[in-house]
């Protein structure tokens, strides 16, 4: 009995020790070293007025396979530290205008919680950053004195309330590497029976992350994150040299939430079948006329065409095109459409959204932004870089480690009040084709992605890369797959050609790249009927398909591998 008590007595403090939040050595060291640094640098000449330390403590696994074998299998743990510094004042600092990169220096921190060593590296990085920031600030001041006044006289940095939050330390998901290596071998072997899928890759990246942020304003955040991303890609070439590609992407927090292996095998078969159909499909002709975009296609379209132009920092600076800068409170979309960006929304229609977060990368709480209400532009996606009439962040300052944050999209959601049931939309489309007297319309089933140019020096154009596009005939003939289509056009015009939408929102989860790096995003929209969309022929490669059939296919005579070389 005595022994029992002893054990029990011992067990209590032990249990208490385990359940109590462990003191976070990394965060403590960051805060201590930060206060020491700012205490000194705020008295330097020129003075530092803002300093932040952020650390991305990330563990990741990357596995890729092709033709039944692995080509990459790797695992890494890294703590990347970013020191962000602003010298001068919020009104004018070293990051002004094109000098944003002068605000940041990065390096690797020790992987163990060795406080002395961590502090020493932070000191080293901070000293290097002060050298860069202070000399840039002097240049900025000189330029201000000699250049004409800027149009937007907003300060360089907005004042925001400090935040403290330690994200729940629930156990992070894990990945059984061996299981996934074998699964990827099997999935990639699925393409081996298709001689005309020339190259293919199955790729998995799984990362768990704890991100730490401490700022001289008092913000202290610890946020866990986990992401699993599986990509299946197949490539072929048409006989005329056009490169054709299908990609399927799946994203979830934990690898267990990814589709089952059977479903993934189905996707491999689907990609192979799509590529076979695309090889045989006729090349699309230049066309302007009615078009129907699936919800996923419309979501990508809005992300590129509208979303990027709502990013706050693009409304400022002489090099930006500023499509929407002076259109606040004006109609920019048909009145039945509204657009929000809501990083606080976790899922939509049962699908987890990739662009969800609690605090942005400047430590500002994420907020839903009603960017366009009933067609009228109301707001921008703001980081802590103010613009005229929008002096505060709305929690959209995002970045990948190593880069300075700017206003970025999270979950862009398009809603409509002018809807018909999805099942009726096709008929409305056919009606529109008939009404315009066109021989056919184009149905965009899937879009790969796209890009948009917002710089002033380049045309204010966008391009999305549709991969599965069908000609829809008004006379009841079956739909016909075409290849080599590019949508072209200018943003304002295209957006106002939307006449009707479906009633279900579809989600596109992806990764968006811009000047602040790669960030996970989602876009959601209903299917949309456009009165007119313009398409052009895609520039194509001239390299013909491989001369020989793949290894092992020499003796099998199929029409697909008899790629007769063309005389040249």
């Amino acid at each position: 009995m005595f022994i029992c008590l002893f054990v029990a007595a011992c067990a209590i403090p032990l249990a208490a020790l385990h359940s109590a939040p462990r003191p976070d050595v990394l965060l403590d060291t960051m805060q201590r070293e930060l206060h020491r640094a700012i205490g000194s640098l705020e008295k330097s000449d020129p003075a530092t007025y803002y300093l932040s330390y952020s650390v991305a403590d990330a563990t990741s696994v990357t596995i890729a396979g092709t033709a039944g074998s692995l080509i990459v299998s790797s695992e890494g743990h890294r703590r990347q530290a970013d020191v962000i510094m602003r010298v001068g004042s919020a009104a004018l600092d070293n990051t002004h205008s094109q000098n944003r990169p002068s605000g940041i220096v990065s390096g690797s921190l020790p992987l163990s919680d060795d406080s002395d060593s961590i502090a020493r590296v932070l000191w080293q990085l901070t000293d290097r950053e002060y050298e860069q920031a202070s000399s840039t600030f002097l240049k900025v001041k000189t330029n201000q004195a000699v250049q004409s006044a800027e149009e937007d006289k907003s300060p360089d940095f907005s004042l925001e309330a400090p935040q403290t939050h330690a994200g729940e330390s629930r156990p992070q998901p894990s990945l059984d590497r061996k299981t996934w290596e074998d699964r990827i071998r099997r999935l990639s072997a699925g393409f081996l029976k298709y001689p005309n899928v020339y190259s293919s890759t199955v790729y998995l990246r799984f990362s768990t992350d704890r991100s730490y942020l401490a700022t001289s304003e008092g913000t202290a955040l610890v946020q866990p994150a986990a992401i699993s991303r599986l990509v299946i890609e197949g490539e072929t070439r048409a006989d005329d040299g056009m490169e054709l590609m299908r990609v399927e992407t799946f994203q979830a927090a934990s690898p267990d939430q990814l589709p089952s292996e059977a479903d993934l095998h189905g996707k491999v078969e689907k990609i192979a079948a799509d590529l076979k159909a695309l090889r045989a499909a006729p090349v699309a002709e230049p066309y302007a006329g009615p078009a129907l975009l699936s919800g996923r296609a419309a979501a990508v379209f809005f992300h590129e065409v509208l979303g990027h132009r709502l990013e706050g920092h693009r409304q400022r600076g002489d090099t930006e095109g500023q499509t929407f800068t002076k259109k606040v409170n004006q109609l920019v979309l048909p009145p039945f459409l509204s657009v929000t960006d809501d990083p606080t929304l976790k899922e939509l229609g049962g699908i987890k959204l990739a662009g969800t977060y609690d605090f942005d990368d400047e430590g500002v709480p994420a907020a839903k932004v009603n960017a366009v209400e009933n067609g009228v532009l109301k707001n921008f996606l703001m980081s802590r870089a103010p613009i005229t009439d929008f002096s505060h962040s709305n929690g959209h300052g995002r970045r990948q480690p190593g880069l300075m944050p700017v206003g970025r999209q999270g979950n862009l959601i398009v809603t409509s009040t002018n809807t018909v049931k999805d099942s009726e939309l096709k008929q409305k489309f056919v009606d529109e084709i008939k009404k315009q007297g066109k021989p056919y319309g184009l149905y965009f089933e899937d879009i790969q992605g796209g890009f948009t140019l917002t710089a002033r020096a380049s045309p204010q154009a966008f391009q999305v890369i549709p991969v599965m596009v069908w000609r829809v005939y008004p006379d009841g003939r079956p739909d016909e797959l075409v290849r080599g289509v590019d949508i072209v056009g200018t943003p304002l015009l295209s957006l106002n050609n939307i006449i009707l939408t479906g009633d279900t929102e579809q989600v596109f989860n992806g990764v968006c790249g811009a000047e602040s790096g790669q960030v996970p995003v989602a876009a959601a929209a209903p299917a949309m009927l456009f009165s007119e969309i313009e398409v052009q022929k895609r520039a194509k490669g001239t390299q013909r398909p491989p001369l020989l059939p793949p290894p092992g296919f020499d003796e099998i005579a199929t029409s697909d591998n008899a790629n007769k070389p063309v005389a040249r």
Partner: protein, 563 residues
């Protein structure tokens, strides 16, 4: 959903590259080595090599069937598969901040159209590379080879047309072939494997960099290691089949501090060997790092070289091996200049064939077949080069006179054949490279005698002191001492050499030591230089024009007690 224009092709390969970059390397993490690949099993038995077999099968198929209309069939095809197994770790200020195990494979395919006299090896025609499967899977490997061969053949046909167009501007006929003939070689060496326990090494890195605690002014102190096993598998249509491998083990330290005037002072010693047991023992490495800190402290207080000096300078063997690597090693390579250029090579020795390039008491040989020197392993050793040609010992400089160049299978004027020096970093095209570059002398003196000679020369010249260089950074001094007439030495800082070039070695080198040092060099292609001390009777030493940096804006963090 990318905001910027991307090339349509293969975003996944971009992704993989990005992943590689993001973590420095594609790493195997804490996994045991070679989980998926099993080259070890083939090492010492005579069972056929799955990789070589698959390569041979695809090579035979390509040779038999690859042909485009109106383009000649290839006259030569080669496949080279490189397998890298690598372990890297780095510590800073007493704590590990990077550790990776990486296993990767790539294939490189060269297809040549034309003939030995004139072919397509030019511009896009130098070959194509691809990821290779990590599993020993014949189907997956052949699939990658198939695509790379197709790409290489198409590129070769374009390259030959481009080359002919470029050459049509010149009237002179090229007096040598584009591609040297070589005998077919079959040589299967055992597979090279890494053999080490990471734990004691991680401790060594951490303990040695924890020594920053002994000096508050040490601004940076890191130590890193890189252990690497590379195996190259090679087949060509001439019938060569080779497998060759090597291991290299490197460990280094890097430290920096600033003098009171802001001058940045750095040291970065490294150690390399083909066997792990030749690297310094943990205590030895720590003692060396302690010594680095000590010399940096010395450098901080050392006087700056303010006055220009022209006079005798003695290079210790470490510094001398750097000089021979830079000034002789680079220039004895038979790199062919661009088409139409009349020079023999691209180096400083292009017009020195049969001329004097060193004093006549010195000779230089490159001998990859030598395995050890003075009991030390030479990492520049190999038996078969990366073009499937057997390595040869090549005397390049005899009695001061340049008698040969180091060559791969790309001939240059007067040198129609390879001498087994076509070497390649994994995944890269081969180029002429040194293996073990060895400096021989007919006459030599002990280091003490050399120091005496230095002082004698000073006396003759009426100089109060001469200079002794212990180590270099590039071709400028890092550890430099004044040697006074009474023999005492004084460390100095902030110096640079002026006009130190190949002519200096030819005209001003007056004596060498009997203290040859094996210097195993870091680099994508392992090489070794063996050189003794050298005495130059005249060299200019002046103040470096590098600007001083600002001192740290605020002091480093205080150390926690209890260490």
């Amino acid at each position: 959903m990318s905001k910027y224009s991307r090339r349509w092709k293969s975003p996944l390969i971009l992704l993989l590259c990005a992943a590689t970059l993001a973590h420095g390397k594609i790493a195997l993490g804490q996994q045991p080595p070679d989980k998926s690949a099993k080259p070890a099993k083939q090492s010492n038995d005579s069972s056929p090599d799955v990789l070589l077999q698959a390569m041979q099968q695809e090579l035979d198929r390509s040779k038999a069937k690859l042909k485009m209309d109106n383009v000649p069939a290839p006259y030569y095809i080669e496949y080279r598969l490189s397998d890298i197994d690598e372990y890297e770790a780095e510590a800073a200020f007493g704590a590990l901040r990077q550790e990776q195990r990486f296993h990767g494979r790539s294939v490189r395919v060269v297809v040549r159209v034309g003939d030995y006299k004139q072919d397509s090896y030019y511009g896009p025609g130098v070959g194509s590379a691809a990821f290779a499967p990590l599993d020993n899977d014949a189907t997956a490997l052949r699939w990658q080879l198939w695509l790379a061969t197709d790409e290489a053949y198409k590129a070769a046909s374009q390259a030959l047309a481009q080359k002919k167009a470029a050459l049509s501007q010149f009237t002179a006929d090229q007096p040598f072939d584009d591609f040297a003939k070589a005998t077919a070689l079959q040589s299967i060496e055992p597979v090279a494997k890494l053999d080490f326990d990471p734990k004691p090494w991680k401790e060594t890195l951490e303990k040695s960099t924890a020594l920053f605690r002994s000096d508050p002014k040490m601004e940076s102190l890191t130590a890193a290691l890189r252990f690497r096993a590379v195996n190259q598998y090679f087949v060509n249509t001439e019938g060569s089949v080779t497998r060759s491998g090597y291991t290299v083990y490197f460990v280094n330290a890097a430290a920096s501090t600033q003098a009171a005037d802001g001058m940045r002072l750095e040291r970065s010693p490294y150690y390399g060997a083909a066997n792990l047991k030749e690297l310094p023992a943990p205590e030895e490495f720590q003692a060396d790092v302690a010594k680095v800190i000590e010399t940096l402290r010395g450098l901080r207080d050392a006087p700056v070289v303010d006055e220009d000096y022209r006079g005798p300078v003695l290079f210790g063997p470490d510094a001398a091996s750097d000089l021979f690597f830079e000034m002789v090693g680079e220039n004895v390579l038979g790199n062919r200049p661009k088409p139409g250029e009349s020079a023999r090579t691209t180096g400083d020795y292009s017009s020195n064939y049969k001329g004097r390039v060193l004093p006549n008491f010195l000779s230089v040989t490159d001998d990859p077949t030598m395995k050890t020197f003075d009991g030390k392993s030479l990492i520049g050793s190999y038996d078969v080069d990366d073009e499937g040609v057997r390595a040869e010992a090549v005397p390049v400089i005899e009695d001061g006179s340049l008698v040969s160049y180091l060559l791969g299978r790309e001939p240059i004027r007067d040198f129609p054949e390879s001498n087994g020096h076509g070497r390649a970093a994994p995944g890269q095209p081969p180029t002429p490279s040194i293996g073990n570059l060895i400096v021989h002398s007919k006459q030599s003196s002990s280091p003490e005698e050399l120091k005496k000679k230095l002082i004698e020369l000073c006396k003759q010249d009426n100089k109060p002191f001469g200079y002794y260089v212990e180590t270099l950074a590039g071709t400028n001094p890092r550890l430099l001492y004044r040697v006074y007439q009474d023999g005492h030495q004084e460390l100095v800082r902030g110096a640079a050499f002026d006009e130190l070039d190949t002519r200096t070695l030819r005209n001003d080198l007056v004596a060498v030591g009997n203290d040859p040092l094996v210097s195993n060099r870091q680099g994508a292609i392992p090489s070794t230089v063996i050189s003794p001390s050298i005495l130059l009777d005249e060299l200019e030493v002046k103040r470096s024009d590098q600007q001083n940096s600002k001192l740290p804006e605020y002091p480093p963090p205080a150390l926690s007690s209890g260490r």
